[in-house]
Symmetry: C2
Subunit: 452 residues, 2 copies
């Protein structure tokens, strides 16, 4: 058993305080328990990890403008030529001159000005896939071109699935962009889930050494997590997301209506990331989820709007503090090291990302318990909420201890040969990012979840 | 004939003045005519191009520390554990927290501390090619590891030539890095010419979303131009350098001894870029070249050291003012739009980059003359100096007007459908980056240089 000392670990906690400037929604859906999003309270361990303290402690500005009244919103966002429609909730990602808004709401794809204000050149390339194109492509093209004849829209439709998130598929985006003679003033638009967002974003980062791009996420996974924060990239046969760029979009537009066409399994997959935010930094959000998971699974629009907004607020705050993942941002990867090993080992596209992350979180929680860092009861609560969300809690039977070990060895969080993990520590809502854990306990966890 | 008005053009000139802070070499080789590198005097046309004036007019700091005495250098650069050897000339590329030094000198690969101070993790991946590896790989590995047992060096040796600057070859770098389990703290080292530097830099930008890298250029082309300034990338079958990133190295180490093994044709190719600096912004440097080209062609070490230093100073100043090519930096591409068309149309690797650029400069000068923007005599001087440098002055016979036009249409300098060109205007050392030129004159130039 590891000692409680953590000389080279970072501890991040959310001690619900009241200095956070965001306002809380008074919209149609009000959570049953009063919620205040507390300020981030981060402190460093005394150890050796070279985290940039100034960056982590930097002040964070995050405007959460879910409307108390339409007037309150219009002070943040000009709607000069707004079509009819509900004003969006706006979460700001504060990154200096790379800051951008996340628009959240129902019917936003029917408000062309939201997209058009972020398109500056005369051409747009919409990158989408075979599943999403028949559902939303016409709508997006209309939103880009309505009363805006100067813009020409090109489209590239990729095959759907994690197994296509590779260099070969990425080249199809470059081929289309170059054949269409798009120039540096073009804007790429990612229309789809996490795979499309990651690939389109990386293509935008690399095409002509960088063009603008916009995220229109259509899955829960992309809306609550992957579309925000500028991580882009593709997989390598030996590991997930090993090739890519930090590259921020001009805006993220989340039309919650797109969830109506999302398969149940995809919906559940996204909830894994929602649950993650609660576990690593937002205990009250986790407790709200425990009470409302059935409502979410039933696709209650107001509950979903709230879960998306609160998830984006958490993500935006973390990204604003640590864009390039010097430390704090790594905590967003709770369960992902184990999860990526499942995705890579079991075959890209076999399991959805969130399904693998769900199991990864169970394994991280198991390891945290073996280390004596969390209360036994939390193990049961994590199992219970994942079950409610209809997510798996054990890896595929074909995964072996050796598969986990060899794939985790190329994880991006390995530093100078040592694997750093995100583990829970302390009361609900607290975690550490550390390489100081008992490696024997990790072996015990792997053996407990694998048959060989 | 176009009018002299230039409403949407930018004019950049070097009016030799004395406010520039760099000091001039008092080293072994002193140019026959006294040279002072003047301050950049840039002014904007009154037109529509959205250049960021503040960036172009930003103050530039560039320390040119070729030694007056060893003591003067050591105040800029610590040589705590220096091996014996000549202290390097240092040109600083001033980019805020992405600033870095260019070390220039003879025997620098025998000074391990120069490289080792810029390697922070425990692993290095040297990216080189089949031509350079037998010549310098052992020397570089020795420089990285001497008295430094904690660093492990991996190597990937790529095929040599512009025709291999593509995604397929790039993937070999990722494969090696991932198979070797390199992590985010690794450093990539580009050992070779421009192709290796561009590919290794882009690989470093994208591997795990960005790792450190170092440039060790071994050709004149790379030493005077491509290794400085952070432009990285690969070619697409339809155009040069269309996929890439702006990504700055930790340092550039130019050991002028590596030129001893450079073929004559490669040497001449690099001189095209040296001549370019004179034409676009440094008349005195051009005049020095006119007097000393035969000395350069004869590989006089002191002449070369001076030409490299002065080229790097010009490049560093431009890059410091306009890292992402909002305007000024584009002027470094004099002749490149025509040149890239030749490289793409004639087949990557058939002509060397500088050979194509030489012809491209002749064509740009021809167009400038047709527009009435330069004195007739400059046409002859450009022809003459290129001939002296043993560079071509006409495109391959197979190039047609249509080939030029279709390839130039995907050039990165096209904006909203209009091709912007770098053209000379005014006295020697002045140029413009503009889309406001008589398109009929461009057609005349193309017809003058093509048989069909």
């Amino acid at each position: 058993m590891a000692s409680t000392a953590q000389p080279s670990s970072l501890c991040f906690s959310l001690k619900s305080s009241s200095s956070f400037k965001g306002s809380v929604s008074k919209s149609t859906f009000l959570p049953s328990n009063s919620i205040k999003l507390g300020s981030l309270s981060s402190h460093l361990g005394s150890g050796r990890i070279g985290l940039h303290v100034d960056r982590v402690k930097a002040a964070v500005r995050m405007s959460s403008t879910q409307a108390e009244s339409p007037a309150a919103v219009s002070s943040n966002i000009k709607m000069e030529s707004s079509s009819s429609g509900v004003l969006p909730t706006i979460v700001e990602v504060d990154l200096g001159n790379r800051s951008y808004p996340i628009y959240i709401g129902s019917g936003l794809l029917d408000q062309p000005d939201l997209l058009q204000r972020h398109v500056h050149g005369k051409s747009v390339l919409v990158v989408t896939n075979t599943t999403i194109a028949p559902l939303y492509l016409d709508k997006v093209v209309d939103a880009l071109t309505r009363d805006n004849p100067k813009v020409k829209v090109e489209t590239v439709i990729l095959p759907d699935g994690e197994q296509y998130k590779n260099m070969e598929t990425l080249m199809k985006v470059f081929d289309k962009a170059i054949e269409s003679r798009l120039d540096r003033r073009t804007t790429f638009v990612a229309l789809g889930g996490g795979v499309i967002g990651d690939m389109c974003g990386f293509a935008a980062a690399a095409f002509l050494r960088g063009v603008n791009f916009i995220q229109i996420p259509t899955t829960v996974m992309a809306q609550v997590d992957s579309s925000v924060g500028g991580k882009t990239g593709i997989n390598h046969p030996l590991g997930k997301n090993l090739i890519g760029a930090f590259y921020q979009p001009q805006c993220v537009l989340i039309d919650t209506d797109t969830l109506s066409t999302l398969p149940d399994r995809e919906l559940a997959s996204g909830l894994a990331e929602v649950i993650k935010y609660g576990l690593i930094r937002d205990a009250e959000f986790f407790e709200w989820q425990e009470k409302n998971m059935n409502t979410l699974i039933a696709r209650d629009p107001a509950a979903f709007a709230y879960a998306i907004k609160r998830s984006c607020e958490n993500k935006a705050e973390v990204v604003s503090l640590d864009e390039k993942e010097s430390g704090l941002r790594a905590t967003l990867n709770l369960g992902h090291t184990f999860g990526h090993a499942i995705e890579t080992g079991f075959g890209y596209g076999q399991w959805l990302h969130g399904e693998a992350v769900a199991v990864g979180m169970v394994m991280a929680v198991d390891l945290s318990r073996r280390l004596g860092w969390i209360d036994e009861s939390l193990v049961g609560r994590v199992h219970s909420i994942l079950k409610q969300a209809k997510l798996p809690t054990a890896p595929p039977e074909s995964m072996t201890v050796e598969m986990f070990k060899s794939i985790m060895a190329v994880d991006k969080k390995v530093a100078d040969g040592v694997l750093r993990l995100i583990l829970l520590k302390g009361p609900l809502g607290n975690c550490v990012f550390t390489d100081e854990y008992d490696k024997e306990a990790l072996d015990e966890t792997l053996r407990a979840f694998c048959k060989s």
